[in-house]
Amino acid sequence: MNVLFVLVPLALCLATAAALAFRWAVKNGQFDDLESPAIRMLIDEQESAKTKDEGE
């Protein structure tokens, strides 16, 4: 159980890191548009369009 003395501060550090990352993401505008990225992933890249397998 001694390991808790390491784990608890470690957990807190991780939480702090996560919070800082979240703060960066919000300021960077990652959360501004939640709809377009979902649609964006359906769009084909130009190069692979011709080689794409048809008819599943």
């Binding site: 159980m1 808790l4 003395f5 608890v8 957990a11 807190l12 939480a15 996560a18 919070a19 979240f22 703060r23 919000v26 300021k27 959360f31 501004d32 548009d33 709809e35 377009s36 649609i39 964006r40 359906l42 769009i43 084909d44 794409k52 397998d53 048809e54 008819g55 599943e56």
Partner: protein, 843 residues
């Protein structure tokens, strides 16, 4: 799931309006040879599956069809003028509209017109990135904007403008900046995220403590857990709680100054709860004795901040719709100088007294008075009236109205926010105030609840000192853990959210939770006429005479730009059994305001007002009587003559929607009062009102927007009012009503002002809405009852010592789960109620 497992061609479509086997079910393009399913490509197949699996197919395809079937409206000119091209390249524009980046480039955000789907977004991005000196383009579909970086030395915005134009998109500077609100919202979002992180960690530690880690058995670890909880909670209270303390403090000062308790904001009891809990727990942690409840405090802070953020976000989205309307006012105008020459200027540079010219098909940029010219204008945006108004020299014209027939020369009077449209918009934005009252209710309940529980806990401790000194800790902890404000505060918002989700799938978009509750209590329904009770388009309602004549008349009418002309053409196309002949049309002459003449297949044809036609043609007594009938029914009569003899007549007006009469009758049966308010002519309104069955004294015509609003406000004092409408002139009234329903097409201020939006095609009746409200309220009441009962029973059990903290820790999430489950299973609609025009729809 559809992406990976789609091995076989998709099953028979439940929604599609193309009957031929060789059109793609999703995009209507032809299917290439060699494909064995009903789609033109894998993309469409996947998209179709995905949409259908999500249960959205009926709504999706009907919304798409909305734009396809809009007809009779002149095409909005997307051509960007030389002026805009010039303006957009000036260094001043670049300076104003772009933000400098660290690497020397500049970032710009422009509004884009013409984006209709994700493919458009992709295309715009590609076009921008292909330009020299521009990169990193990202399209934001909901906002219709594109952001990209540019190197001011190499980039040419005017060239980009031309490129995009060739694809059918036009770009413009964003007129409204939304930075202020977004910043606050972003800061709040950060607080939300951090608060939850902190709360989560405290809960982990608390779990250990609840599971039996106590100061007596493991002094080091237990104290460690308590102190760490204390530390984390301090951060949470200082960082997250400060949001509530600020308003609470301000409201206390305000209440003291006013010497009244009504000034107290909801945040006050919340703040008290937080602080009491925090300091008491702090004392416990420091002294090493007594229980801590940092976890409850931290979760409360996080949950309330989340609610607040959601509220702020939905407000911003709503107001963005309104600002997009101001973007519709044209960017530039044609000013006529004193020497008679025309110069194109920026709309914002127009000064009162300037003379400007408005061509047919253009939108008036300012309010003004007509100096010369006679034309028809469509004032739908202001008055909601679909019938175009004929204006001539001396008449007034509003910004935002569409000039339809002939050029007008206008003297400008007011522009921007001084115009009628601008003022209505401003009024809307001012009364934005309170939204999402349900969230406030949840806040209030949670706040009081916490205080209540703390008080009970304290009382239990005190009582325990006398009656059960050994079990104080256990009972108090059990009480605190088992009592769940989540269930109590969540019951209402969750039921509403679930019901709204189900409504959205049926095509009814509900923006505000409180609207759903109010639907249950409605006692009066107010209808707008144009577009709500009627279809909103001029069409031929009745006719007499030779039906073949209409095909000929339609050929001639194609040369006229008049809504009545459109109506005749539409009617001719719809007439069954009309022979298709080839027509040779010549010598066309348009007489504005009266009609059109010409030679069709060497027959002299005239179509127009009977009085004008009568001057040169003979009109039989029979037709004359019929024309009088039409006028009595408030239809606009149109006569068609061949070689000097009137062969057919038509009565044009706005057709009443088919279900309306039954709907009004049903409402009356339920004892709900019905009213009709319209900006249109009094007699026309009265005629329509009688036709649908509304009582005489409840019909009002020729009402302007402010009058509508004050009427509704007065009515709201006596009844619970549901208002249904669609034009901008309804917007203020919609906001004043207890529940406002916007029906129809993309009318931005209407959407902002209303609580519910229904696309015109689906038109479920007001009855369906009322039933919906009733069912949801029933569910909410059930949820609240269950939560209240649970808390009472569980709390009592805990105080009396029947519950150990462990049992409490299990019971609490179970109760939340139960409330969540019952809310998600709400069935607010009977399947029969919301029948849509689409075949084979499933719920």
């Amino acid at each position: 799931m559809a992406f990976i497992e789609a091995k076989s061609p998709p099953r028979e479509s439940s929604v599609s309006n193309n009957q031929e086997a060789d059109s793609c079910k999703h995009c209507d393009l032809s299917i290439p040879a060699g494909r064995h399913d009903s789609f033109c490509c894998t993309g469409c197949a996947i998209a179709f599956e995905a949409i259908r699996d999500a249960g959205l197919d009926s709504t999706y395809y009907s919304l798409r069809r909305l734009s396809e079937t809009a007809r009779g409206k002149p095409v909005k000119q997307l051509k960007t003028s030389a002026l805009r091209k010039k303006h957009i390249s000036t260094p001043q524009f670049i300076e104003e509209s772009t933000v400098g980046q660290s690497n020397g480039s500049r970032r710009i955000c422009l509004g884009v017109d013409g984006l209709s789907c994700a493919a458009c977004g992709w295309l715009v991005e590609q076009v921008v990135s292909a330009q020299d000196g521009m990169w990193g383009a990202t399209v934001n579909l909901p906002e219709s904007s594109v952001v990209f970086d540019l190197d001011t030395d190499r980039a040419s915005l005017s060239q980009l403008l031309e490129s995009l134009e060739s694809f059918g998109y036009s770009i413009h500077a964003r007129k409204t900046r939304q930075d202020g609100a977004s910043q606050r919202e972003k800061k709040l979002l950060i607080k939300v995220g951090v608060s939850w992180a902190l709360a989560g960690n405290i809960m982990l530690l608390a779990f250990a403590l609840y599971s039996g880690l106590s100061v007596e058995s493991d002094p080091i670890y237990a104290s460690g857990a308590r102190w760490v909880s204390f530390l984390i909670a301090s951060v949470s209270v200082a960082y997250g709680g400060i949001e509530f303390f600020k308003t609470a403090f301000a409201s206390i000062r305000f209440a003291l100054k006013r010497k009244s308790l009504r000034g107290l904001h909801i945040d006050t009891p919340i703040s008290v709860g937080i602080l009491v809990g925090y300091f008491h727990s702090a004392a416990s942690a420091i002294s090493g004795q007594g229980d801590i409840w940092f976890d409850s405090i931290a979760v409360l802070i996080a949950a309330l901040l989340t609610a607040r953020w959601l509220q702020m976000r939905s407000q911003r989205i709503a107001s963005q719709a309104a600002s997009r309307l101001m973007d519709m006012i044209p960017y530039e105008a044609r000013k006529i100088d004193t020497d008679g020459s025309e110069v194109v200027i920026n709309s914002e540079d127009i000064v009162a007294g300037d003379t400007i010219r408005i061509d047919p098909g253009e939108i008036a940029p300012v309010d003004g008075v007509v100096i010369s010219g006679t034309s028809n204008v469509n004032n739908a945006i202001i008055t909601g009236e679909s019938r175009p108004l004929q204006i001539r020299s001396g008449d007034g014209i509003f910004a935002g109205s569409l000039n339809q027939s002939a050029p007008l020369v206008v003297r400008a009077e007011s522009k921007g926010s001084d115009t009628r449209v601008g003022q209505i918009l401003q009024w809307l934005q001012e009364s934005e105030g309170t939204q999402a009252k349900v969230v406030q209710l949840a806040d209030r309940i949670s706040g009081y609840f916490v205080i209540c529980v703390l008080f009970l806990a304290f009382s239990t401790a005190v009582a325990g000192y006398f009656f059960f000194p050994d079990a104080i800790a256990t009972r108090v902890v059990a009480l605190l853990v088992i009592s769940c404000p989540c269930a109590l505060g969540m019951a209402t918002p969750l039921a509403i959210a679930a019901a709204n989700g189900k409504a959205a799938r049926k095509g009814i978009y509900i923006r505000d939770g409180i609207a759903v509750e109010t639907l249950d209590t409605i006692s009066a329904v107010v209808f707008d006429k144009t577009g709500t009770l009627t279809e909103g388009n001029i069409s031929v309602v009745d006719y007499d005479g030779d039906s073949d004549a209409f095909a000929v008349a339609a050929e001639l009418e194609r040369y006229a730009r008049h809504p009545i002309a459109f109506a005749v053409i539409q009617f001719a196309e719809n007439l069954a059994g009309v022979k298709q002949k080839s027509f040779l049309v010549s010598d066309v002459k348009v007489e504005t305001g009266s009609g059109i003449t010409g030679n069709v297949n060497r027959v002299a044809v005239s179509v127009g007002r009977p009085a004008w036609i009568e001057a040169n043609c003979s009109l039989s007594a029979h037709f004359e009587n019929r024309i009088n009938d039409f006028v009595a029914k408030r239809l606009t009569p149109v006569a068609i003559s061949f070689d000097g003899i009137v062969v057919a007549i038509a009565g044009c007006g706005d057709k009443v929607r088919p279900d309306t009469i039954a709907e009004i009758a049903n409402l009356k049966e339920k004892g709900i009062k019905t009213y009709l308010l319209s900006g249109d002519d009094t007699r026309v309104t009265a005629a329509i009102g009688h036709q649908v069955g509304i009582d005489e004294e409840n019909i009002f015509g020729s009402i302007g927007p402010e009058q509508k609003r004050s009427f509704i406000e007065d009515l709201c004092l006596k009844e619970r009012v549901l208002m249904i409408g669609d034009g901008v002139n309804d917007a203020a009234a919609l906001r004043a009503a207890h529940v406002g329903v916007a029906v129809g097409n993309e009318n931005a201020p209407c959407l902002v002002a209303s609580d519910i939006f229904i696309p015109a095609e689906l038109s479920p009746s007001s009855l369906t809405l009322l039933k919906f409200g009733g069912r949801v309220v029933g569910l909410i009441k059930r949820n609240l009852a269950i939560s209240a009962a649970y808390n009472l029973i569980a709390g009592t059990a805990a105080i009396l010592g029947f519950v150990t903290p462990l049992v409490a820790a299990i019971a609490m999430p179970l109760s939340s789960l139960f409330v969540v489950a019952t809310s998600l299973r709400v069935k607010p609609f009977d399947d029969a109620d919301t029948s849509s025009p689409l075949p084979g729809q499933s719920s």
